[in-house]
Amino acid sequence: MTEYAKPIKRRKINSDAIWGYAFIAAALLIFLMFTAYPVVSALIISFQEYKPVGSTFIGFDNYTETFKDSLFWKAIVNTIVYTLLTVPVSLFLSFAVSILILPFKKRMQTAFKAVYYLPAVASGVALSVVWLWIYDPMPEGIFNKLTSFFGLGTHNWLGSSAYAMFSLVLMAWLSSHGTSIIIYLAALLGIDGSYYEAAELDGANFFQKLRYIVVPCLKPTTLFLLVTGVIGSFQVFQNAYLMTGGGPDNATTMVGLLIFNNAFKYFEFGKAAAQSLILAAIIAGISVIQFKFLGKDVEY
C-alpha cells in the first residue's frame, strides 16, 4: 500500500473526496451496469424459467437438471482433459524456450519473442480458418501429407471423435505460448546474478543451477501462469465453436460451448445461467486449491 498526500486542511479532504468520486464515476457506473448487475441478474435467472415477458420461479430445477445431464458431465470431462493436456505442456514449452533464449543478446531475444508472440496478434477466427485447412481431411491436406510422410496414415482430424480433441490440443500447443514465454523471460532476467555466483563457487553445474535457483525463483511466475492458464482453459469456447462445433458426437463439447449452446441455440437462459455459475464455482475452487498446494512458499 502506498502513502497518500497528507491533507493540509480538513476542508481539503472533502474537496479531494469529491474529486475522487468524480474520477471513478464513469468507470463505476459502467462496472455496475455491465458487470455487477449482470452477475446479480445471472443469479436470479438461474432460479427461473426465463421468458422475455413473465419469467417463472422454479427453484433449483435448473441446477438439478444440470447435474442429471450426462452431456454436462461429458463437457466437464472434456474441459478437464483439454486443460490437463494443454496447460502443463504449454507451461513446459514456454519455460524451455525462455531458458534457451536467455544466453543471447537482447536483439536476438526480442526477435524470437516477436516470432513466438505473432500468433497471439492474429485473430482467433483467422487462425481457426487456417487450421481448418491444415487439418483438411483430404489426403492432400497439409497435415495429412505430413503424417503420411511419417507413415502415420491420413485421418479425418477434426471429423472423427478419436482425433478431434487431439487436433484442438495440438493447435493450442503450437499457438498459445507467446505470452507465457515473454513473462517467463522477464522473470528470468529479474533473477539476481549473485545467486548464480554463489552456486558457481560451490561448483554447481548448469542443471544444478536450473534446479536449485531458477525453478524456485520462477515459482511465483509459474503459479501465476498456471492459475491464469487453467482459468482461461476452462472458459475456452471459440476454437471448439469454430473448428468442430463441439462434435463429432460431442467429443469436443467444452463447458463454455455447452453454456453458449444452451443460451443462444436453445434459448434456455435459466439453464445456461445456472451452468455458468457452476463453472464459476469450479474455477474458484480450482484456483483456491492451486494456491493452497503450490503457493505455500510463494511470496508476493
Binding site: T2, F23, I24, A26, I45, A122, F206, Q235
Partner: protein
C-alpha cells in the same frame, strides 16, 4: 555470472552450444508461425475450388484474384472492416480515458469506500465471462432493444477492470511529493491528473491503448451475439459467415483471414515494443 557458463577460452564449445540452441529455437519458431505463413502464401492463389488446387508450401503463382474475390463476395466487406475500426477505436479511447481517471483516483486520492470498491472490482475480474453473457445479451437485446447498433457493440466494453487495475498499479509508483508540490502551487485535482499524471503515465497508457485495440479488433463473441444484419457485423463475424458460405473456396478464405489479421500485424511490427512490454505489465512484479 549467469545461468549459462561463460566458457572462457573455449569458443568452440560456446559456438557449438549456441548453434544447437538456435537450431531448436528456429524449428520451434517455424512450427509456431507456420499457420500464418501458410495463410499468407495461400491467399495469393487463384480463387478456384479446393479439388482443383494443390496445397503447396511454396507459392507456384502470385495472384491477387482471391483478394478481389473476397471484396466482391459480399457488398459489406469494407463495411465490416470499417465497423471493426469504429468499435475498436472508440473502445480504446474510452478505456484509456476512464481507466486512467479511475486509476488515478484509486491510487492517489483518498475517499471513503475506495478500498472496498476497488476490491469488489478485482473480485469481479475473476468471474468467468460466461456468467455475464446471458444477462448482458438480455439487457441489450430484450430490454434496450439496441441490437445491430454501434452502441450495443461498444457499450459493455467502455472500460474494463483490467485496464483500471493496470492504471492503478502504474500510478501508485508515481511519487506523492510531485503531487504535493503541484497542490501547493495551486493545482486542483483535475489539473494534477491532466498535467502531471497523464504525461508521466504515457507508457502504460500506450500499452493499454494497443492491447485494448487488439482485443476489440479480434473479438468475435460479443459482435456475434448482438449483430445479425450483415451491415453491422465486424470483420471477425463476417469472416465466419464467409467460411460457412464457401467451404471449398480456399484461397479467398485465406485472403479474408489475411485481411482480418493484417492491420494487427502492421501495428505489431511498428509498435512491437509496446506489445511485448504490455504482456508483462501486471504479470511480473517489477
Amino acid at each position: 555470472m549467469a545461468l549459462y557458463n561463460a566458457h572462457p577460452g573455449k569458443p568452440l564449445i560456446r559456438i557449438t552450444r549456441n548453434t544447437a540452441i538456435i537450431t531448436v529455437l528456429l524449428l520451434f519458431a517455424l512450427a509456431t508461425i507456420f499457420p500464418i505463413y501458410f495463410m499468407i502464401i495461400s491467399s495469393f492463389g487463384e480463387p478456384v475450388a479446393a479439388g482443383a488446387m494443390d496445397y503447396r508450401l511454396f507459392p507456384s503463382s502470385f495472384s491477387l484474384e482471391s483478394y478481389k474475390f473476397f471484396f466482391e463476395f459480399s457488398p459489406y466487406t469494407w463495411r465490416w472492416l470499417l465497423n471493426s475500426l469504429i468499435v475498436a477505436t472508440t473502445v480504446m479511447v474510452t478505456n484509456v480515458l476512464f481507466a486512467s481517471m479511475a486509476g488515478y483516483a484509486f491510487s492517489k486520492i483518498k475517499f471513503k469506500g475506495r478500498v472496498l470498491i476497488f476490491s469488489i472490482m478485482l473480485v469481479a475480474m475473476m468471474i468467468p465471462y460466461q456468467v455475464t453473457q446471458v444477462p448482458l445479451y438480455i439487457l441489450i437485446v430484450n430490454i434496450f432493444h439496441i441490437e445491430n447498433t454501434y452502441t450495443a457493440l461498444i457499450l459493455p466494453g467502455l472500460v474494463t477492470v483490467y485496464n483500471i487495475f493496470l492504471a492503478k498499479q502504474f500510478m501508485s509508483s508515481i511519487p506523492n511529493e510531485i503531487l504535493e508540490c503541484a497542490k501547493i502551487e495551486g493545482c486542483n485535482q483535475f489539473q494534477i491528473y491532466f498535467r502531471i499524471i497523464l504525461p508521466l503515465s504515457k507508457t502504460v497508457l500506450a500499452v493499454m491503448a494497443i492491447l485494448t485495440f487488439m482485443d476489440n479488433w479480434n473479438t468475435f463473441f460479443w459482435p456475434l451475439l448482438v449483430t445479425n444484419s450483415m451491415d453491422m457485423q465486424t470483420i471477425q463475424v463476417g469472416l465466419k459467415s464467409f467460411k460457412f458460405a464457401n467451404t471449398t473456396l480456399f484461397a479467398p478464405m485465406m485472403a479474408g483471414a489475411t485481411i482480418s489479421a493484417l492491420p494487427m500485424f502492421i501495428l505489431f511490427f511498428s509498435l512491437q515494443k509496446y506489445f511485448l512490454e504490455g504482456v508483462t505489465v501486471g504479470a511480473v512484479k517489477g
